[in-house]
Amino acid sequence: MSKTPLNLFFIAALAALPVCTKAEISTRFSGFGSIGALTTNTDELGFRRDFSDPSPSYSDEINFSSLSVLGLQANISLHDSFEFVGQLVLRDQPVQNSDTLIKIAALNWTPSEEIQFRLGRFSQPFYMLSDSRHIGFANLWTMPVQEFYAPVTNNFIDGAELSYKLELGDGFLMSSINGGTTLVSIEDSALGSQTLEIKNVLGINLEYHYGDIQARLSWNKSSGVSRWDEVDAAQAALEQITPLWPGAKDLSERLSLDENELKYVSAGVQYDNGRWLLIGEAGEIHSNSFILPGTRMAYLSLGYHIDLFTPYISYAITNSDEFYLESPPPPQVAPLVETLTENVKQGWDQRGFSVGLRWDFHFNMAFKFQWDYKSMDRQGLGIWFPNKEGIYPDKDVDAQVLSTRWDFIF
């Protein structure tokens, strides 16, 4: 883990302490959690909630880990303008250590109504739910829309954020800029568990709130991904065969994450008048890497509040750039190239339709039930895990997912 942001956080905290008296310090402990279960009707692919889910689900299995989570939070308010926030989140993920468990460790400084500055570790808001997707009680569905949020595996940024609020008539505009480093946890069917550090993250976020409407525009750039041993090995093998096949150089560059810059752009809107609920987002990932290909994704959800119940429907779509080779490899190296590229050939070409129900049976608890129908094109199965033998089917696949979840806050 990058130590610099946390060091800055503690330095800032020590600097803030002299301005506080004991009487001004107040502490608040709280938490959130979910217990969920899901199953699918196919053995051809393994369902996963996102790319950090290490426990794929197959038919005749009920998975209790993918949708279960426990979060513990402490808020320590100092003086008028300073606050420490710490949050631990326990969930099923590829690597479990202090780096991946601590989701927030930040000092908030709010010198005025308009300005807030954060230093340390906090969630990066580059999609509408990217900073709240673990908090089941806050969201409509049993899980964030898979077609949109599957690639979102970075849970925090270690750095700084400056936000500014501007009153605009009866609404307000919140703009923020953040930068730092982040960790991404990935569970890859062929390459195993991996935590990658991304050194250079920059994000700009605009949110407009007016009455029952919230709209958001986000832009995010990442570069400087840490080395991935398995990718390094593949690149070394491709370097060996470059004299035989010049296309190996291009393939090697496109397998790399550290040599490619990633950009995320998204727009979202939410309308909730207490009766009708509409949530929609559209986004694009710009990338030259086959590991995380350029992708377009969108979803739209519609719900209707009836007393304590909110039935909803949702439609989502994702489509990534297709894998290609600049030129076909010669026969003597074709088998090696096939082995090296077998799993990165799977892009993301998927459509999902969901029907669900949220029941707020208690002021601090909700129960949800959701049925999903997923339709995936051949060579577009990459959001899912392959079958238990590690093989992706060479055809289009349709599958259903049933999920349920009990969410609570305390």
Binding site: Q73, D80, Q87, R118, D170, G274, D360, I409
Partner: protein
């Protein structure tokens, strides 16, 4: 006989209206010594929905909620925002657990404790029923019972 019946009808109707409590006002209060005088409905929404962090005098707002499960809490938010308490709780979960904004504090166990806290704390703001009003607090907004 006719007049007695009419008075009887009016008395029964009054008793029904008074006992239902459905028309009781809710009062947003600050300390009697606070510089805050009057607030609009929008300002109250901004305060209790976390969109306003400081009063106009630059002092940090310390908002207090009625205890969890309180009927007054549900009635206040429903009338103030037009939204259900479930919506309000999910809204606050999204804001609070991203570590950016704190919701009103709900650790005080009764309206009486809340009124005492507001009376002693110049930065406090809360909402109470008529029974908790005193000369130690001032009303800055009234949520009418028929809203």
């Amino acid at each position: 006989m006719f007049k007695l019946n009419r008075y009887l009808h009016l008395s029964i109707l009054s008793l029904i209206l008074l006992s239902s409590g459905a028309c009781a006002d809710i009062y947003v209060i600050v300390s009697a010594g606070s510089e805050v005088q009057n607030l609009s409905k929008k300002q109250c929404i901004d305060i209790f929905m976390g969109r306003a962090r400081k009063f106009d005098n630059g002092k940090k707002i310390e908002a207090f909620d009625q205890p969890k499960g309180s009927a007054l809490r549900e009635e206040f938010y429903t009338k103030l925002t037009g939204k259900s308490l479930a919506f309000i709780n999910a809204y606050w979960a999204r804001l609070f657990y991203t570590g950016r904004v704190q919701p009103p504090s709900d650790h005080l166990k009764s309206s009486e404790q809340i009124a005492l806290e507001v009376a002693r704390n110049p930065r406090a703001i809360a909402y109470v029923a008529e029974a908790q009003l005193s000369d130690q607090v001032q009303v800055v907004f009234t949520l009418n019972g028929n809203q």
